[in-house]
């Protein structure tokens, strides 16, 4: 073990109190942080709720719900870990680790986001029952035709504040179902009806977030300049620093191929893994590990030391002795 210890013969020692050093450092940080917290506060923006979308963006709410019902939403087509779709499956050639663990959080948006909440609402709104039975009895192509007709009608809908007038169309039970769903939403009951993948421990908010994830959250994110092309998640929050230590990672998303490829996330993740491995390997890579010696920035850190060795008392003798020994060998 001795070889590890700095040689006291070579390097004179000075008195040093590590405990004092540590305590002072802790106190310095504590004081800075308490001042920052008191003077600057913390970022906080109220979360977006389904209730808000149902009341202030009724057409958006109905569109989202119609796509979920028809399995044409982004999530319905997503792929692992939610289902077996391919819509958001990222692959580089035949490399697609996304499929590795399979479907671990199965989500059937039509069921979870629309049909189940509605069946839960039947006791409150018995008129829903025939509409649901009609939907359940219909063929798949009939259901698609209804939803398409409804979406077309919806595009011509007139909305005033929180009320919408959807023109008549051959859309079967869909308008009755979705306006009942919106009633659930604007009453504030919907996320409770959605987030029950486990009815007791309701920590998994996938259903409600996945309902919001499309246009609704995007619109709100745009308001705060949070979109991916605007440095996404590391963007400052309001005027507070965001997760700026993710800069090297989010920087990747600003340049091709990461910014353009549908497998951008996959590439960025594995690029970061490679960077991490390189960082770990610095002490072992010949050439790289000699860089600090070449760059000589260390002369700033130890400038007092070099000053005393190279110019202090005895420095000239030491140089001469070294020179003599060098010539002798």
């Amino acid at each position: 073990m001795r070889r590890y210890l700095t040689d006291p013969e070579k390097y004179p020692q000075t008195r040093f109190d590590l405990v004092k050093e540590a305590v002072i450092s802790g106190l310095v940080v504590l004081v800075l942080v308490v001042i920052a917290s008191a003077a600057l506060g913390v970022p906080y923006v109220k979360p977006l709720t389904i209730q808000q979308v149902a009341t202030s963006e009724p057409v958006l709410f109905l569109q989202t719900a119609a796509h979920e019902l028809d399995d044409t939403s982004a999530i319905a087509q997503y792929g692992p870990p939610y289902n077996n779709g391919t819509g958001s499956l990222q692959a580089i050639g035949s490399f697609h680790p996304q499929t590795l663990l399979g479907v671990t959080t199965p989500i059937n948006p039509a069921q979870v986001d629309v049909l189940r909440p509605l069946s839960m609402a039947v006791p409150l709104d018995p008129a829903l029952k025939p509409a649901l039975s009609r939907w359940a009895a219909a063929s798949r192509s009939q259901q698609d035709a209804w939803v398409n007709a409804y979406l077309q009608a919806l595009s011509r809908a007139s909305a005033a504040g929180s009320s919408v007038q959807v023109p008549m169309a051959a859309d079967g039970p869909v308008p009755a179902m979705l306006s009942a769903l919106r009633a659930l939403g604007s009453g504030g009951l919907m996320s409770g009806a959605l987030d029950r993948l486990n009815p007791v421990y309701r920590y998994d908010v996938a259903p409600s977030l996945l309902f919001l994830q499309g246009t609704a959250l995007q619109q709100m994110a745009q308001k705060y300049d949070l979109l991916g092309g605007e440095w996404g998640i590391m963007h400052d929050e309001l005027n507070y620093p965001g997760p700026w230590w993710l800069t090297p990672y989010t920087a990747l998303y600003q340049i091709p191929p990461y910014s353009t490829s549908p497998a951008g996330d996959l590439m960025a993740a594995y690029s970061m893994l490679i960077i991490l491995l390189l960082l770990l390997a610095i002490p072992f890579l010949p050439g790289v590990r000699e860089l600090p010696n070449k760059l000589r920035v260390y002369r700033l850190v130890w400038r007092d030391w070099y000053h005393s060795v190279e110019r202090g008392p005895g420095a000239a003798t030491r140089s001469a002795q070294a020179e003599q020994r060098r010539q002798a060998t």
């Binding site: 700095t6 920590y203 996330d265 993740a269 991490l276 610095i282 002490p283 030391w305 020179e323």
Partner: protein
Amino acid sequence: MSRRDHGSANWTAAVRKQAETFTWDMLLPTEQPIYVRSVVYSFGALTLGALVVVVLSGIVLAANGPFWWQTPGAGAFMRGIHYWGVQAFFFFMILHLTAQFFMGSWRLGRQGTWVLGVLSFAVSVVTAFTGYLSRGDFFSQWNQVQSKDAFNGAGIGGWFNVLNNGQIYGLHIAVLPAILIAMVSLHLLLVRRHGVVPPYPAENERLERGPAR
């Protein structure tokens, strides 16, 4: 004594051997070599100070729960301490990392210290990220839906489910801090065990010893 007691092949014996040779004076030295005289030597200690502030404020936050820290007043103030502590932690850690790079501090058997430092950095980033997800405001929601694609695409989303607040919060307040604290402790033990890395040879010493390792 039998070979079992001292054989280095036996890891329990190796641990015991470490315990025998590691002294309190190594851990808390009363002397340092004379070249230890620069502000860069405080960066590690400041990083550690920030980590302590973050852990202690985090304990207070966890003890009081999400509603408390989302309510203006004492809860928000404590969240501020936690948040700004994290800012300080990363700020000092990056200064520390940069300085250690330019000092070539992995020299003379200190590679393990560097490796543990880098791993601590990586774990810190994941820990801080799960913290952002646990705040419970709009930014959390946005980061959840955005980052799910990244984790899913990378192949770990099937286990690391950012939409599951229970899992992410548990990782943030227990699992990841435990790993981080263990790594930092080992990092510090190694620093103390090896002693502070000596400077690269001075110009007049180089004549004698040739280029530094």
